[in-house]
Symmetry: C2
Subunit: 333 residues, 2 copies
């Protein structure tokens, strides 16, 4: 009998089709063709990107040349632009505004085909610190209401560049998904006077069936109402609503669990394309009792079709408990 | 300058990247491989599906054999099942229920490679009538709260079968997307005492820039805040909240505009994979002043990536006014 499960934060129902119960080998991951050469994210091609905003490079080395370990550049084809006035207007019954925002690219490594999961923990920690640094800078622009960090790994996950990179899009409004999480977690808080994410962490650690890995500061779980097979979430054990307020020592510990989680996913289901998103509180809400930042990692093993698009319902063919068991048991050494 | 536009029903913002302004030729539609033979939806293979629920076939011809023009069968691998008790329970802070529901397949034609857009209007009208008939039957099951009709055309739109078909999934809860539309349109109604969809239709007919085609009873438009390039919506001009209350003469007129809209999409952007969803009121809300049934057709020309998954925000590289102009101007004779 299939099971319907409800996400406790935003009330999204998911169909867990237990009967199909797909195991890792049941998912076919088609290798994607690699096309080396002429990559604007490789050494020597720095002039092919807009000038760098920041970079990790040897002291004294000139910007926009080789030698760097990490580079942050504006997107050459930005979805939103920093320049201009934030202008809101109507058009009959419709509302629109100018597309003010920012769109930055984090080139995570100079090595063309190195995946995030296979980088040194220190390199991943530097990337996380670069996120914090860019977020703290952009927060000073009061037109920007939200900073979304995300990563598309693989063409089928929407990546247009093969070379490993993350992105930041700053928007002049709080996106719908975050609004829903903010409202849902506030409802829970009003009723329970507790953060729903803190309650989830407590229950998942005690229950242990959906736990992937944990360390002193963070936990990696398969969510109870996971939309996608092998979806995982990473959350800080101590309540914190804004990612960018994470301390530097904690970012290093986060890098460890992020690497561990991605490695387990890659080893379990054959290095799938995936999307990673970082959910944090809106810019002007730095310390909230009811919201809790977290990372969502969504492998692309199933295809999202009309039913999902029409209903917002997802069908997940691998029960979260089974996915977590596979992820725990895989050999990562 | 990109533009942010808000959907007036559920408040979803969309980024219209006017600068990219992609024209139909800019979208590459990769032809999908066809694999004929052994298709359970073809003549002679009726035994490969579960026994038919209904069919359009010559009077007196036996069920589950050839000769039919349209066949409705239960899904062999249903996402939800009719048998069993609807059981709701908790698991710590989580909620779940048994996966009661129904999952039916509408085999639209015996011809393996005939697309819906290329069928005779009469055949399409028969399909629409079959939807109504199955919905009216399933509505008598009080455990079912929502009936979602949808269609995936093409592998990249999530179809697992090549042979043209639609699906119906009945769920024991009202899906999130429909709940949002119900709530959003109720808010509007409270404020304006008018149906937001009726207001949209009025404005779109007067404005004409986003109009694709219209007839006496229906209108086909590119929505103001379209998520996807060449997305179109078909709505009845007269207020009606439940699709299944459409009269038989109107279903015939609907078949015409549906065929016309799909043909224009296929001719404009080279027969893309697409999802079609029918949004209607929940089962137990047959006549509501604030809700208005409609069909949403979403071609798969862009890839949905981490940003969309993380935010619920979409980036549409073709302005709706341009998409509508292309759709209007294409030659469908």
């Amino acid at each position: 009998m299939p099971e319907l499960r409800k996400d406790p934060i935003i009330g999204r129902w998911v169909i867990i089709s237990t009967e199909r119960g797909k195991r890792p080998v049941d998912y076919e991951v088609v290798p994607e063709p690699t096309k080396k050469g002429g990559c604007p994210f490789c050494y020597g091609n720095e002039a092919l990107t807009p000038p760098e905003i920041m970079a990790a490079r040897p002291p004294g080395s000139p910007p926009n040349g080789p030698g760097w370990q990490l580079r942050v550049v504006p997107n050459k084809f930005p979805a939103l632009r920093v320049e201009g006035q934030l202008d809101k207007s109507g058009e009959g019954l419709y509302d629109k505004m100018t597309g003010i925002g920012a769109h930055e690219i984090f080139i995570e490594t100079p090595v063309h085909d190195l995946h995030l999961a296979d980088m040194e923990t220190g390199q991943i920690a530097d990337l996380l610190q670069a996120f914090v640094s860019r977020m703290q800078d952009l927060k000073r622009d009061i037109r920007l209401k939200y900073l979304m960090i995300f990563k598309n790994q693989g063409f089928r996950a929407g990546a247009t560049m093969e070379h490993s990179h993350s992105q930041l899009i700053a928007t002049p409004i709080v996106p719908k998904t975050i609004k829903e999480e903010m409202e849902g977690s506030l409802e829970y808080y009003k009723y329970k006077e507790r953060c729903v994410f803190c309650d989830i962490i407590k229950q998942e650690i005690e229950d242990a069936r959906r736990l992937v890995i944990e360390n002193d500061r963070f936990v990696s779980i398969v969510p109870y109402a996971a939309r996608f097979p092998f979806e995982t979430w990473i959350l800080p054990k101590n309540h914190l609503s804004s990612f960018e307020n994470t301390t530097i020592p904690d970012l290093k510990i986060l890098a460890e669990i992020l690497k561990g989680t991605l490695l387990r996913m890659n080893r379990s289901v054959n290095t799938p394309p995936y999307n990673l998103v970082l959910h944090t509180a809106p810019c002007d809400r730095p310390k909230i009792d009811h919201y809790h930042w977290h990372i969502e990692i969504m492998p692309r093993l199933t295809r999202v079709a009309g039913f999902e698009r029409g209903t917002g319902f997802y069908i997940n063919p691998t029960p979260p408990e089974e996915a977590a068991a596979f992820l725990r048991e895989v050999d990562v050494n």
